[in-house]
Structures are given as structure tokens and as C-alpha cells.
Amino acid sequence: MDKWRNIFNPSSVFVPLGAIVLGLLSGAVIMLLGGYNPVDAYQALFRKVFGSPYDIGETIRTITPLLFTGLAVGFTYRAGLFNIGADGQYIMGMTGAAIVGIKLQLPWFIHAPLAVLVGAIFGGLWAALVGYLKASRGVNEVISSIMLNWIALYLSNYLLRALLLEPGQQRSYFIHESASVSIGWLSRALENARMDWGIFIGLIGAIVFYFLLWRTKQGYELRAVGLNPDAARYAGINIKSSIVKSMFIGGVFAGLGGVFEVLGVFHYQVLSAASSGYGFDGIAVALLGGNHPVGIVFASILFGTLTYGSAGMNFSADVPTEIVRIVIGAVIFFVASHGIIQGIVKPFMASRRKLDKKGAA
């Protein structure tokens, strides 16, 4: 646990910033080795992202699920749990929203909120199951949540086939218009980019994240359990219920990510052979963001931008999109091994380091 904490709590702002720079440089080196021009490539990347109103809108759409899964991982991490199951929770969120969106017919002011709520609760309960297993049976949350990812994938496919599949298609029926959370006028303003309420709810989610953990008694308990479960128990905090609660809240975040993908972006759910990977990207986002809501917002913007922009890099500079995955991988690598960065920026951080030593002496 301590090891994870060390990796997961890079102490300063320098580390993530340094990691981003080094990550981009690593990508550049690899492009040079491959005979590509990195300057052109990065220019193409940013042109793609900021090139047109449509691209800006679509970049925001790419950011949204990363923001949600980042919050999901970060929140549970603050409570001492490593939620590797955001992927499964995300899928359950999609499924819950799709069922309500397709099967029910209600006025829009009930239908959309209900679909969002049910999707969120699906995600939350899926995560709470992991919490329950840990609290009552001591099952390691990493193991159970990774297994539940697969169960979620196939359970979701099964439910799709059994309940929602449009004949002859590899996807569900479309959701009813009343369940849609797309924002028509915003889409029209951004050249028909797929815009929905997701990003706004995500930003509110980041605020809720902060408020819950640092402004409520419940959050105080969760953080105490996260940092020292023994001391928390001695202070009369119920560890088991804390574990279940924090997993549930994390799962709600991840589930919401899936909800907006169905209700806002695609308006249907597809049968998937493999996971979306958003849950795992969420781990990277939380890691880069230092498990702090503000950091997570910025990290999701960065990763979303790189991911969406990679298409432009491919198109106009002929650089394969995989290069961007390498950049993202390198960023994560440098955040995790923050000793490297501290070594490089040592001259700037000399005073900090001395203070640390004094504390250790």
C-alpha cells in the first residue's frame, strides 16, 4: 500500500509538469528515430484540436469520460482503495442508462434525469460490490474489481442481446428522444460536434469530489481510513462501511461516464468485444492529477487533447496515432518514477529537498 501511495502522490506540481514535458520529448525522440518530423507532428496535433469549432467540441467529448473515470479512481484512492474496476463500472453505467432510455417512455424532465440516475447507481452498486467483498471477506479490491470488469462486459452484452438489441444490428435500439442529454444548440454552434451535459456534470462532479472529501465529516472519515485505517478504527470510525461507501461513490463517477456516452454521444449502446479502456485511462488521469480534483480536471484535458489530436497527427503529418499512446505512456512513466524528474529539476528544488532531509533527520 505504501508503495502505491508513494507512486500515487507525487508531492509537487513540478512532477506532473516535468512529466508532461519529458513525455512529449520522449515522443519526439521516437518520432525522430522513426524518421518523422516531431515539430510538424505536434503542430498537426494542436491544429486538429483547436482547428475548428467542431474539433474543439469533439475534444471536449473525448475529455468527458476520462474526467469521470479519473474522478472514480482518484476518489477511491483517497479512501485507501485502488479502484482498477472503473472500466466495469463505466460499462454498467452505460447499460443502466440504455435500459431506462430505451425501455421506458416518460416525459423528458423525468426520463433523462432518471436514466442518468439509474446508470450512476448501476455503476455505484457494481463498485460497492467490490467494497462489500473487501469489507466482509477481505478480498483484495484490485483482484475483485479487475474480475468484475470482465463480468460487467459480458453481463452488459447479455442484457443488450436479451433486452435491447435492434434486429440485424450489433447495437441496441436508439434511446427515446426524451432520455437524450445532448445539447442541441451547443452542437449547432460547434458545427454539429456531439455536445451533451456530460462535461458540465463532470466539472460539478469534481467540485462534489472536493466538497465531500474536505468539507464533510463523512469525507474526513474516508480520508482518515485511507491514510491510516488502524488509527481511524481506534477513533471509532466504521472501516467496513467506509470502504463500501467510498467504492459506491467512485462507482457513481465511473458510471456517469458511461451514462453520458450513451445518453449524450451515441444514443445507443453497442455490443463490445473488449472494454473501452476508459477505466484504465482513468487510472492514468488520477495518477497524473495527484488524486486531487483540480489535478484530475487538468489531466483529463491533457489526455483527451492528446487522444483526439492524434488523429490529426496521423492525417496531416502521417505519424501513426500510436505515437500519442507512447507519449501518454511516457508521461505516466515519468509521473510514477518521479525520482527521475526530481533529479533533473534538482537545482530548482534544492531548498525543498533540504527541508525534507531535515524532517528525516
Binding site: 474536505w214 468539507r215 464533510t216 465529516k217 463523512q218 469525507g219 474526513y220 480520508r223 482518515a224 491514510l227 491510516n228 488502524d230 488509527a231 481511524a232 478504527r233 481506534y234 477513533a235 471509532g236 470510525i237 466504521n238 531548498s351 533540504k354 527541508l355 532531509k357 531535515k358 524532517g359 533527520a361
Partner: protein, 512 residues
């Protein structure tokens, strides 16, 4: 009489600065061959920094180190080891699932062909162990042996690597009374074999018992170097803290009042396995300190855990203020008026990465004073923490600093402030002065006596007999999960108590 033995280590004008503080200010120190040289000072006085310099963990800003008369630059622990310097750290660095021999040979494994030569390792470990009377079994696993034994493994490790200058960093902090006695003997054996020892400590009794020379450090400077035979505890304490210190707190007699805690027939564990607590009966009244004496591991932890709701009792009753509170949740027991100063303040007492203020409300944060309903008002928390930090003299730059950054004594003060200010009826304090320096110890003792004077019932569990004698109104001895008997501290002595702690019942003689 022969002349003075040769000087084996000489530190000349060692200065080490950290931002904002001079940890060592031109320190001189001479260690002679075959002597035990005690380094005495309060927490934060600069002892550990100085020894870290000698062991190569830090580089001095000024000054020189001479080993066996030659100037040495010690740029890392590897260099220190090759110069024959070994360090026994306060926190052991052992691989738990490995055997003793495996731990000792780690990093210097004897090899035969491609495989490890266990036989040679075992033989060598046993031989060193016998030479110094360490009585260590090379084949035992670390996780199976006691803390005292683990420490000996650390000693063996340094000897195995050929150390003849040994540094001990607070070696007795984690040991029981018996283990301390044995360690003292081991130290004497080592010097008899020609080893030289530097003993870092703040326990005066140990220095008087075992050391030949003592150097007192205060705020990074050497106050004095004395021959142990020519000084006494009072003088050393005065030099260490810079003022005179009273050792024996003034115990005021107070007529005990109503019964606060009454434990009847408390048992943990069923008949089939060994019972961890067996039919414990205990009464504590208002304004009374009951001292629970016993060797570590005889049921003290279990008793506390049952009283604080961490562990469930199998049978028996716990009455608090006349109410049955057996097997209630920790939170309910805290609300009912139980406060607890746990033995392990890092593991159980504090959330080290919480701020001081967050730690000070651990246990009372649900109070409406710290925010209505579900909200937590961090401003109110900080105001409260600032008040307590002032009243209990917790030295911290601000209440927003992490508890981790505080010294042990200040961490303990913060815990005591938190627990006492919750207004408990019963205070359970286990080893409340463990690892603290003289100044902090007397502060803790004063606060406990003050709490008693205010009418709180106090259960004091300690492995230090002096502490129990000085503070308690009544002594109760626990052995193997059973209460062996009671004693009045004014009418009994350490010998009698020691017999009970070893399992002899008080009435054994009388009843034949």
C-alpha cells in the same frame, strides 16, 4: 594503571547545517577502544544527525573525522562498514520471512560454486553468537522471534561484517525490562572483546548502568563530556535539558470517588484454545490511577482492545458508570466517556498525513461545534486545534503542518490534548511516555496527575516500573491473561512485583 586506551574515533569540529537550523555545531567527540560512550540529548538535540554523519549518511559541512588516527572521508554507509563501523538502527531492517542466517549474510553471501553456502553461514553466525553470548538460533525465521532477538540479529549483522565500532541508536526503546537487562550484558561482552560502542539514548538509568563516558548534547552543541563514574542522573538531566528536572512527580492523595469502570469476569478466547484474557476483575474509581503491571504480551493489548471496542469479549461484563457497555462499538464507548492514549502513536494514535488540526479532532469531529449536520467546518477545527496546541504546548509551526513532521514528544502531547479535552470519565493510557525524552515525560506525568485531580479514572499500562510506582494509587499485575494480584505502591517494591509479573500469585506464600 595503564594509560588511557587509544582513541579509535575522533570527531573534530563537526558542523552540519540544515536550512534554518544548525543540527551539529562544531562537535568534538573521542571514542576510545573498548569503551561504551553514551551520547545523551533530548529528541532533536542532534544525536542522530551526528551519528548519521559518522555512518556516512550525511556529509558534514565542516570538521574532520579520524578513524584509528587517520583522517577519513566517509561518503556512504559502504565506506563506513569497510572502516569497521556498524550501526544498529532503532527500526530494524530485516527481511521478515527470511531466517536469521539469511538476513545476516544478505549482501555478503558466502558462495560455493553457484549455490549459497548455508553451512558456512550458519557456522559463522553461531560462532559469533556464542562468542558474544547472543544466543541466537541461525535457523529461526525473523517473523517468529521476539523484538529483542531481532535486535541481536542486527548486532550480529554488524559483527559479521567485521565491525569493531558499533553505534546503537536508542536500542532500548522497543525492549522489555528483561530484554534491556540482557542487552546491557551483551554490550559489556562486546567491549570485553575489544569492541567500542557509541550508545545514543536519553534514558539516564541506562547510561549510569553501562557507559564509561557520556557526552551530553543540547541544541547541536556539546554541553560536556564526563566520566560516568564521576556524575549522577540529576547532573546529567540538568545538562541535557538546561534546567533542573524533578524526577518524581508529586502524587497528591485524593479520596477516590464513585466507581467508574468495573470489569467482571472478563474473558477473551474459548476453552479450546489458550485464553487471551481469563476472568479479569478490575475496578477503577474517580480520581484514581490504577497501574497495570506486567511483561509485554500478557494480555494488556487484549484488555485495552476489549475496553475500547476493538475486540469482542467472549464472556464477562464491562460496566461504565453503572451501565453495561460490554461489546459496544468503539464509537459508542467513546461517547460513553472512554478516552484512549494508545501505545503505538504512529499506528493507532495519529493519522500521520493528516494535519495537526485534523488529528486533534479525530474522535470529536462529529461534534456540532465542528460543523452542522454533515458539514465539517475546517475553520472551527483549526481554532479548536490552535487553542489546544497552546494549552498543551505542542510545538509545531502551525496547526496545518502534518502530524508526521512533529517530534515524538509533540505528537504525544497532541494525542493527550485530544483525549483529555474530550472530557472523558475513564482514560486508558498505554505506555504514554514510550520513546519520549525527560522533558516530555514529566509533562505527560503532570497531565495524567492533573486529570486524576479532576476526578477522572485512569488505567495506566506501562512496562516501566518506575512510572507505575510514581503515578499509581493501586497496582494490578497481569500475567498470561490473568490478574495475579493487587498491591499498594507504597507498600510493595520492585522485587515483589517482579515475582508476580513472572507468574507467582501474591497469596502463594501465605497459602503454602
Amino acid at each position: 594503571m595503564m594509560g588511557e586506551p587509544e582513541v579509535i574515533v575522533e570527531l573534530k569540529g563537526i558542523t552540519k547545517r540544515f536550512p534554518g537550523i544548525v543540527a551539529n555545531d562544531s562537535i568534538d567527540l573521542k571514542l576510545r577502544k573498548g569503551e561504551i560512550h553514551a551520547l545523551l540529548g533530548e529528541n532533536g538535540a542532534g544525536k542522530s544527525t551526528l551519528m548519521s554523519i559518522l555512518f556516512g549518511l550525511y556529509q558534514p559541512d565542516e570538521g574532520e573525522i579520524h578513524i584509528r588516527g587517520r583522517k577519513a572521508v566517509i561518503d556512504g554507509p559502504g565506506r563506513a562498514i569497510s572502516l569497521g563501523i556498524g550501526m544498529v538502527h532503532q527500526h530494524f531492517k530485516l527481511v521478515q520471512p527470511f531466517t536469521v542466517a539469511e538476513n545476516i549474510m544478505l549482501g555478503a553471501e558466502p558462495v560455493k560454486g553457484v549455490s549459497l553456502d548455508y553451512r558456512t553461514a550458519h557456522d559463522k553466525v553461531r560462532q559469533i553468537s556464542d562468542q558474544y553470548g547472543l544466543k541466537v538460533d541461525p535457523k529461526a525465521k525473523i517473523e517468529d522471534i521476539t523484538v529483542g532477538m531481532q535486535q541481536r540479529v542486527e548486532i550480529l549483522k554488524t559483527l559479521y561484517r567485521g565491525a569493531d565500532i558499533l553505534i546503537f541508536d536508542e536500542p532500548t526503546a522497543v525492549l522489555t525490562v528483561q530484554e534491556i537487562r540482557e542487552l546491557m550484558q551483551i554490550l559489556r561482552n562486546l567491549t570485553a572483546e575489544g569492541k567500542s560502542i557509541i550508545l545514543i539514548t536519553h534514558k539516564l538509568a541506562e547510561i549510569m548502568e553501562v557507559s564509561d563516558t557520556v557526552t551530553v548534547i543540547r541544541r547541536g552543541k556539546v554541553v560536556d563530556t564526563l566520566r560516568t563514574a564521576e556524575t549522577n542522573e540529576e547532573e546529567l538531566a540538568e545538562k541535557m535539558v538546561g534546567r533542573s528536572v524533578s524526577f518524581v512527580p508529586v502524587k497528591k492523595e485524593r479520596a477516590p470517588g464513585e466507581v467508574v469502570l468495573s470489569v467482571e469476569g472478563l474473558t477473551v478466547g474459548t476453552g479450546r484454545e489458550k485464553k487471551q484474557l481469563d476472568n479479569i476483575n478490575l475496578t477503577i474509581r474517580e480520581g484514581e490511577i490504577v497501574g497495570l503491571a506486567g511483561v509485554d504480551g500478557n494480555g494488556q493489548h487484549e484488555l485495552i482492545e476489549v475496553l475500547t471496542g476493538i475486540r469482542k469479549a467472549t464472556s464477562g461484563r464491562i460496566m461504565l458508570n453503572g451501565q453495561d457497555v460490554t461489546n459496544r462499538q468503539t464509537r459508542d464507548l467513546m461517547d460513553a466517556g472512554i478516552a484512549h492514549i494508545p501505545e503505538d502513536r504512529h499506528k493507532h494514535g495519529l493519522v500521520l498525513d493528516f494535519t495537526v488540526s485534523e488529528n486533534i479532532v479525530l474522535g470529536s469531529y462529529r461534534d456540532d461545534a465542528f460543523g452542522r449536520g454533515i458539514l465539517l467546518d475546517s475553520k472551527a477545527v483549526e481554532r479548536y486545534a490552535e487553542k489546544l496546541v497552546g494549552e498543551y504546548d505542542v510545538r509545531t509551526p502551525s496547526v496545518q503542518n502534518k502530524a508526521r513532521s512533529l517530534s515524538g514528544g509533540n505528537q504525544q502531547k497532541a494525542i493527550i490534548a485530544r483525549e483529555l479535552e474530550r472530557g472523558p470519565r475513564l482514560l486508558i493510557a498505554m505506555q504514554p511516555t514510550r520513546g519520549l525524552d525527560v522533558g516530555a515525560i514529566s509533562f505527560v506525568h503532570e497531565r495524567l496527575l492533573q486529570a486524576k485531580a479532576e476526578g477522572k479514572a485512569i488505567l495506566l499500562i506501562s512496562f516501566e516500573l518506575d512510572e507505575l510506582f510514581n503515578l499509581s494509587d493501586k497496582l494490578v499485575v497481569i500475567f498470561d491473561g490473568q490478574i495475579m494480584g493487587e498491591a499498594n505502591p507504597a507498600e510493595t517494591d520492585g522485587e515483589k512485583l517482579g515475582l508476580m509479573m513472572a507468574g507467582k500469585t501474591m497469596h502463594a506464600e501465605g497459602r503454602g
